[in-house]
Symmetry: D2
Subunit: 130 residues, 4 copies
């Protein structure tokens, strides 16, 4: 599991007084950085080789401004050329949001998916959600 | 079906040169305004009575800066206290992104879901995806 | 003058119930597209030749969700290699926000500013704020 | 001075490969939290009493994805009912962006500015930019 802390900003709130739901996908993408680094250690754009195929987000409870949020990031599936990242947002002792992003190992030159190398698979395996 | 046009902004792009995937949930929420108006005709915050329970987004093709995007919004399920909104982003003649948001008719005072009134159900029915 | 219409989104509001101030620079950049097109007619990233040097924004009145906003875009200064774009946001009959962005004609290869061609200067002149 | 660290996200980049300029006002507002707390210790929305009157941002150098950014926040002016917050973004050993926000001590009930209490003035003074 990877952990990251987010301090929500005033601009992340909406008129209902809570954190707006559209922040979750942004925060989840940000918290996938350590996974991006398994493929591109320097996060080099020139060597970028991941693309998102789909995502889902479930909202279990409200998030508030003024308290830090913990993002927990796991691998929940490893396929031949793709894998799933499962993530949670925790605040005030509750899991408030969870979601999964399906990522594809992608060659931007040929615009085709490509096999995940075995050494990266091994690293992904270390972060499997149980 | 409801249609809306989005002119993507330079700030919506990312370093890969396309529109970043995190814009889709933002644009989809924006394009749900006509559905919000079925419940709150003036979009009055004080009378707000909808909450999002979950969403999923599928990415079929890349979106580009410099060309307008059409958002198509349908109702794909009507339950007792909740309903699904199915939406698509079209650009350069292709359906590039699609997704569904599960919305709940919600009483923010009691923090409980509530039955969708019959007259609103009838209106939602007119926008059903076939 | 260039005009554009923005329909503010629910996610653009903040907990005080109005449109958050950080949207103005985003909307202003979006509404500079017609000026970007004077330099890059197809908004081609590969040919991009503008960079922002500074901006200022003044907040005169509150912007609300549920009503369209008109963006008015003018040229307020034309120099040798740079120019100023002055912009306003109008809603409910009032000028609610105004601001100026100083743009530099820039060569990303050499990382240096470059003279604005005379034909583009002539076009910019047609949109001068009086 | 207040310090905060920002880890820029992939979604903060734009098609030119750098961090988009519109992030600076968002990050600056986020980093004003410790100053907001001088007025509203719990960041309570119900007791909110600050409003932004204007801001300016100067771009000195490019910010990149993949490296942390340090935000430095100072008070640069203290008036009767308003004050200025001067802020800088530092990355790769350089001051890349700087800017000033003019904040007004504001009563949202009466919609009028109000005198800054002496004890808060004393606290603001401790963070004056020299």
């Amino acid at each position: 599991m990877f952990k990251a802390i987010i301090t929500p900003r005033f601009s992340d709130t909406d008129a209902l007084g809570h954190i707006n739901n559209t922040n979750a996908p942004i925060w989840f993408e940000g918290a996938r950085d350590p996974i991006f680094r398994l493929f591109m250690p320097d996060l080099s754009i020139q060597e970028w080789q991941l693309i998102i195929a789909k995502m889902d987000v479930s909202y279990h409870g409200q998030l508030f401004y003024g308290q830090d949020i913990e993002v927990r990031t796991f691998i929940s599936r490893i396929g031949g050329a793709s894998f799933d990242v499962y993530q949670e947002l925790w605040q005030h002792g509750e899991k408030c949001v969870s979601g999964t992003a399906a990522m594809v190992h992608f060659d931007y030159q040929t615009q085709k998916s490509q096999k995940i190398p075995d050494d990266i698979k091994a690293e992904l395996t270390q972060h499997l959600y149980e």
